[in-house]
C-alpha cells in the first residue's frame, strides 16, 4: 500500500489565512491544491512535509477572467476549466492543445494550473506553454505581492524562485501579442508525460515574424525556452526555409537526457520536427486558417 508518511493537515479558509499558516509552519509546510503531483511524491517519500496546507477551499482563487488587456488565471483553476474556457479557446489554441494531452480527463478535474507551474517538473506541458506565451505569475506573501515573468520563475528541475512564505496566486497572459499559436507533443501512450513537446506563439506583421515565443517540454531547455531559435526567427520572413532553420536551431540548442522515453538524438529529432509543425500551424492561424 502506498500512503504518505504521517503529516499534519491545516485547511486554509482564505488566501490571507493560507499565508499566515505558511508563516507559522515555515519551510516544513507545503501547500496542497490538486495534489496530483504532491501526493504521489509523498507516497514515494520523495517529499515528507510536516504539514499540508489545503488551498482547495479558497475557491476565489479559481477563475479565468479578462482584465487590463490580460487573461488572468487564478492559481486554483483546474486543468479541465482551462480546457473548457471560451476565452482560452478563442485566443490561445496553444493552451487548449496542451491541456487536451495533459494526463487524462479525471486527473484534469483535480490538478490545478498554479500547482503545475509550482511543481516545475521538467516535463510539465504548461510551463513550456506559459513560457512561450511570455506570461507572468503573481506571488503573494506576508511582505506583499510581486509579479515575476514565467521565464524567470523556474530556476531548475523542480525548483522555482518562490519563497517559502509565498503563494502563487495568478497567471497573467497578455491578450495583445499572439496572432497564432500551437502545441505539438509526442508521448508514448495517451495521457503520458511528453517524450518531447513544443509550443509556439507568433505575431506577424508584413509577413515577417514580429514576436516569437517557443517553449520546449522535457528536453532540458533553460526556462523551457528555445531562446536561440526565437532570436533567429524575429524579423525574418516566414518561409518554409526559415521555419526549417528555426526548428534546426531549437533542436541543436536544447539539452535532452536519455531515459526510458528515448535516446538524446531521438529527442532532438522530435524537437526539430515538432518545432517545424507547430510553427507551420501557428503561421496558418496567423493567416486566419483553421483553429
Amino acid at each position: 500500500m502506498q500512503v504518505p508518511a504521517p503529516v499534519d493537515y491545516e485547511r486554509a479558509l482564505s488566501l490571507d489565512h493560507a499565508i499566515e499558516l505558511l508563516e507559522r509552519y515555515g519551510p516544513d509546510a507545503k501547500i496542497i491544491a490538486g495534489g496530483h503531483s504532491l501526493l504521489p511524491m509523498m507516497k514515494l517519500r520523495l517529499l515528507q512535509p510536516e504539514v499540508l496546507i489545503d488551498l482547495n477551499n479558497v475557491t476565489d482563487l479559481g477563475y479565468i477572467k479578462v482584465e487590463s488587456n490580460e487573461m488572468r488565471i487564478g492559481a486554483l483553476t483546474r486543468h479541465s476549466e482551462l480546457l473548457e474556457s471560451p476565452i482560452v479557446s478563442e485566443h490561445f489554441p496553444i493552451i487548449s492543445e496542451a491541456e487536451r494531452v495533459i494526463a487524462d480527463p479525471v486527473v484534469r478535474n483535480r490538478g490545478t494550473v498554479g500547482g503545475s507551474l509550482c511543481q516545475a517538473d521538467p516535463s510539465e506541458d504548461l510551463a513550456a506553454v506559459f513560457s512561450a506565451l511570455k506570461a507572468s505569475v503573481v506571488l503573494r506573501g506576508s511582505k506583499g505581492t510581486r509579479v515575476v515573468p514565467v521565464r524567470e520563475f523556474h530556476s531548475g528541475p523542480y525548483s522555482t524562485v518562490i519563497d517559502p512564505g509565498e503563494i502563487l496566486t495568478e497567471i497573467r497572459v497578455s491578450l495583445s501579442s499572439p496572432c497564432g499559436s500551437a502545441y505539438k507533443k509526442v508521448e508514448r501512450r495517451v495521457g503520458d508525460w511528453a517524450i518531447a513537446a513544443v509550443g509556439v506563439v507568433l505575431r506577424v506583421s508584413n509577413s515577417r515574424a514580429d514576436d516569437v515565443g517557443i517553449g520546449l517540454t522535457a528536453v532540458g531547455a533553460e526556462h523551457y525556452c528555445a531562446y536561440e531559435a526565437e532570436e533567429f526567427l524575429v524579423g525574418k520572413e516566414l518561409s518554409e526555409e526559415t521555419i526549417n532553420e528555426c526548428a534546426r536551431i531549437a533542436a541543436e540548442n536544447c539539452n535532452p537526457s536519455a531515459d526510458q522515453r528515448g535516446p538524446v538524438d531521438y529527442k532532438r529529432h522530435l524537437v526539430e520536427v515538432l518545432t517545424f509543425r507547430a510553427l507551420g500551424k501557428a503561421v496558418a492561424r496567423c493567416k486566419g486558417g483553421s483553429q
Partner: protein, 164 residues
C-alpha cells in the same frame, strides 16, 4: 483528526490520520467497498468517485480534503431497487469480465452521460482514457456506455430492475 464527510447523501464522522487517502476512508472506515483500490498511482482509475459532483481518483485525494464536501460512490448508482442504465448497460453488453475496473468506469460513464447524453464512440473513449481495463479491450465497455445512452430515461422495467 475528526472529519465529517457526506457520502451518498449520508453524513459520516470519523477520527482519522490526516494522511489517510479517500479510497481507504471509503473502504475501511465506512465499509463501502464498491470503490476499488488499484494502482495507488493515479493511473488505473478503478478508485474514481465523485467529489462535489466531479469524478476524481480517490487514491490521490486525502480523506481530510473531502471533509465538509460530498462524495458519491458506485453504491449510489442503483436507486430504490432500480439499476442505473449504466449498470444495466454493463450487464447487457458484457462490459466487464473480472469486474475490477468496473466501479470507476461506471462512475465516469454516469458523469459523461449526465453532461453529454449522446456521446460518440470517440467521446466515450476519451472520457475513460484515464482508466485501465485488462479484460475487455474496452470494446464492450464502450458498447455498454452507448447502451446506457440509448436507454436513459426509459421506464424502470425496461432500463432494468435489480434482479432478485
Amino acid at each position: 483528526m475528526n472529519i465529517e464527510v457526506e457520502v451518498n447523501g449520508v453524513g459520516y464522522s470519523r477520527d482519522i490520520e490526516p494522511r489517510m487517502l479517500l479510497v481507504h476512508f471509503l473502504r475501511d472506515e465506512i465499509g463501502l467497498t464498491g470503490t476499488h483500490w488499484g494502482c495507488d498511482t493515479t493511473n488505473c482509475g478503478t478508485c474514481v468517485v465523485w467529489m462535489d459532483e466531479v469524478p476524481v481518483k480517490s487514491c490521490t485525494v486525502l480523506a481530510a480534503m473531502a471533509a465538509g464536501h460530498s462524495v458519491r460512490t458506485v453504491e449510489d448508482l442503483e436507486q430504490n431497487g432500480t439499476l442505473d442504465p449504466v449498470q444495466q448497460g454493463f450487464m447487457e453488453m458484457h462490459g466487464l469480465q473480472c469486474g475490477f475496473c468496473t466501479p470507476g468506469m461506471m462512475m465516469t460513464a454516469r458523469w459523461l452521460l449526465d453532461h453529454n447524453p449522446d456521446p460518440s464512440e470517440m467521446e466515450i473513449r476519451e472520457a475513460i482514457s484515464g482508466q485501465i481495463c485488462r479484460c475487455t479491450g474496452y470494446e464492450n465497455i464502450v458498447r455498454a456506455i452507448r447502451w446506457a445512452a440509448e436507454h436513459s430515461g426509459e421506464p424502470a422495467d425496461k432500463a432494468g430492475e435489480v434482479m432478485a
